[in-house]
Symmetry: C2
Amino acid sequence: MKKIEFFFDIISPYSYLAATQVDAFAQKVGVDLEWIPFLIGGVLKETGNRPNIAVPAKGKYLLRDLSRWSAYYQIPLQFPSDFPKSTVLVQRILTALPTEQRSEIAMKFFEAHWVKDEDITQTEILAPIVGQEAIENALTPENKERLKENTAEAIQRGAFGAPTFFIGEEMFWGADRFVLMEEYLQQIK
Amino acid sequence: MKKIEFFFDIISPYSYLAATQVDAFAQKVGVDLEWIPFLIGGVLKETGNRPNIAVPAKGKYLLRDLSRWSAYYQIPLQFPSDFPKSTVLVQRILTALPTEQRSEIAMKFFEAHWVKDEDITQTEILAPIVGQEAIENALTPENKERLKENTAEAIQRGAFGAPTFFIGEEMFWGADRFVLMEEYLQQIK
């Protein structure tokens, strides 16, 4: 069966927007979906890309654009008071989780960061969401390596930002390409 | 009556995509539309933004993304063999034209550059499209200054890329925000 791979990072607001839509989208188009954590910081560094906020005018517009999408999708969104924060710990936790638990926990992390303005670098915030054991599992050398591998794999396949979707080796970037993914899936039916 | 201002540059492929859609969009939503030439080079320089092709992975993806949109909108698009080229002359010509002639001539320039791979820096290419007089009108100091003013105005109002749309002082960036413009126009009805 065809599959959508959804590479995301909790730090990325467009990953959050996409995350709120992608499950329903996969169901609608009838394809499997895999949520794959990666580190956008590593992607930007390796590809020479920069975050939107590196250009002040773009950073200012980003806030308007996010606010419009949140109204359009009718989802809550509040820009964090402290941004950007390291998401290495949350991304490691998500990597260590069984695949089928990832979307549910990822949404809770997204909401902590993008709705409730909670400090997602703190284990006191994360433990009630995911449990202490999941945090410990996240810190093994093997798991840390897996997250690095996810990031390296995305870069190797062409990623330069987040969210990044793959359908086979066809890459789609951003929270605003669902219409093109749908078109592509119809073509390869 | 409400108005959409459409800032575009012939050099910008997403300006071309937007240009193929914007007249029908304005008609559908029932608002006035003004096509306003500006120089994206000046905008990037002033804001510190960079073109997509500055990041190799992004440049590679750009080709796929453009090809998908052209299939989606069923419009022809061929990436120019020599890119980027200076669009100062075509943008000056468009600036000098009466407002009501701009969209028609701009579409011909977009097609010369983005479909026929013609050298739009050459007056031999442009004269048959727009006439020799329009080229001469473009080269007056007053007209050159007007194009600079359009560019400075867009930057001052928040632009950092192309295409850029304004509805009043609400700015929308890119060829993929029609849905949000429509939403906004409904809100302010």
